[in-house]
Amino acid sequence: MLSRYHVMMFSFIIGLGIAGSYAFPLATWPIPWTVIILILLAALVSGSLAFAGAARFASEMLSCENMRFSRYRGQKTQYRYIFDGVMWWVVIPVKGWNYLKTKINSAGNPGIAILPARLLEQESPYFPVGRVMMYMLTPGAISTLARKRVFGRLFKDLNYAPDGKTDVFFGFASKSLHPDVEHMTGSYELETYAGNLASSAIDLRRVSDDLQTWMKSQLKFWNQIRGSDSAPIVARRERERDEEEER
């Protein structure tokens, strides 16, 4: 994300360019102004695309089995539930983004995802999971779907027009649906884990105390050697021997 450091580096590079243009005023390149505009436009477009990509990573997300959609959180972004006489469907606005770090957002969700409500899973509203394969509908497919009255009413409510501005994704057929019992392996006695760690801590404390005692005795021994009358003589002999070996 963009931090103060990045802004500082950006300013530094520009500042370097300005300083360079004053220091070397003759280092010029004759270039048509339109080319400069085109280069700046290209930089702006690539920057915007990269920004939108970064914003999507920082946004809420609907994860499905074959696609992921970022979501804009704001006004009129609630889920809708519709009943077609057989089952409930959930309609989720998608493809927008909130980049909280930069305080900029997409101001809307230019797409909707329709999936069976019972295949929507949600531990928190930020990362819902759709256990379905998603397919993007063509205008023809949307008009076929709209023949069913509830979906027709839905598209009318959403002011959907087949102008390519709103993408419609339709999900069905789950591959990953499975009972939670598959995850119920092992026991979760947290006290046991905590107990194991506590006993290893006691054991390690004993080892550490032993080491401390060992170190104290070593230091005491070292002090005894340094403090003895013969210590300077021993040190001198050691040094002479080392010097001879070096020669």
Binding site: T28, I31, P32, A50, V129, G186, S187, L190, V207
Partner: protein
């Protein structure tokens, strides 16, 4: 064979071509250094966002109970089996990405119950455990030292537990798929984590034995000894001595 061209493409093409024709495009002598700085600065900004965009495009891991999304490069590295008292745990690296010809090794690691990990698809992994972020990656040594050591040694990840490490470590012991997680469960998990600092220190000392004492004495000596200006300069220029390793480092793009 008919060639399909969008009308908008033709319009853009005409605008560009017109802009490049000399009668319209007056030539100005522009300073090269200033132009270079403009190009460099915009590339720099785009690059920062592009890395985040790569993370969005690549594989992802979602900590469902904490509402956190991270990018990932590799799969879970190792795991243990469950017993009648403790769950089987797994080491899950994350934080890297792989898009097109660019990839970065996972810098972070989480240790969570193996049964709380679920693959929604090849690109998306869900974790149903409250994985608490640890204050420092070194604390993973205290709560799951066997996994921490293998993550550090692994050449697949850039996870390390050095003092100035940029790695993040998470630890979770509960599994929301088995039963709803209560406040008491989380308190107990937190209790385990909160005293991990002391255990990590003790493990550090215990693992290297007498060398720990020697190191401590050396540390005492070096704290009283003044470094010469030449040595400081050498360290500044050449850096401190490090062992040769095939392990990926923690820079963004490798």
């Amino acid at each position: 064979m008919p060639i399909h061209v969008k009308p908008l493409t033709i319009v853009i093409g005409v605008v560009i071509a017109t802009a490049l024709i000399t009668p319209f495009a007056r030539v100005y002598a522009t300073n090269v250094l200033f132009l270079l700085s403009l190009a460099g600065a915009s590339t720099y900004l785009s690059g920062i966002w592009l890395i985040q965009a790569f993370r969005d495009k690549g594989d992802t891991i979602i900590f469902m109970m904490d509402s956190v999304r991270k990018s990932r490069f590799s799969e879970e590295m190792s795991k243990t089996e469950s017993t009648e008292k403790t769950p089987g745990m797994a080491l899950v690296p994350y934080g890297g990405y792989s898009v097109l010809a660019i990839n970065t090794a996972d810098r972070d690691a989480a240790v969570v119950p193996a049964a709380s990990i679920e693959k929604l698809s090849d690109e998306t992994t869900l974790i149903y455990s409250h994985a608490t972020p640890l204050e420092h990656p070194r604390l993973l040594m205290a709560v799951a030292s066997f996994f921490a050591k293998s993550a550090v040694q692994s050449l697949i990840t850039s996870f390390n537990m050095e003092r100035k490490s940029r790695s993040e470590a998470r630890f979770g012991l509960v599994n929301n798929l088995v039963r709803p997680i209560t406040t008491e469960d989380m308190q107990l998990q937190d209790q385990i984590i909160n005293r991990s600092g002391v255990i990590a220190d003790l493990i550090g000392r215990g693992a290297i034995g007498e060398q720990a004492g020697i190191d401590q004495i050396k540390q005492f000596i070096s704290s009283t000894k003044k470094t010469s200006l030449t040595e400081t300069f050498k360290r500044l220029v050449f850096g401190s001595r490090r062992e040769e390793s095939m392990k990926p480092d923690q820079r963004e793009v490798q």
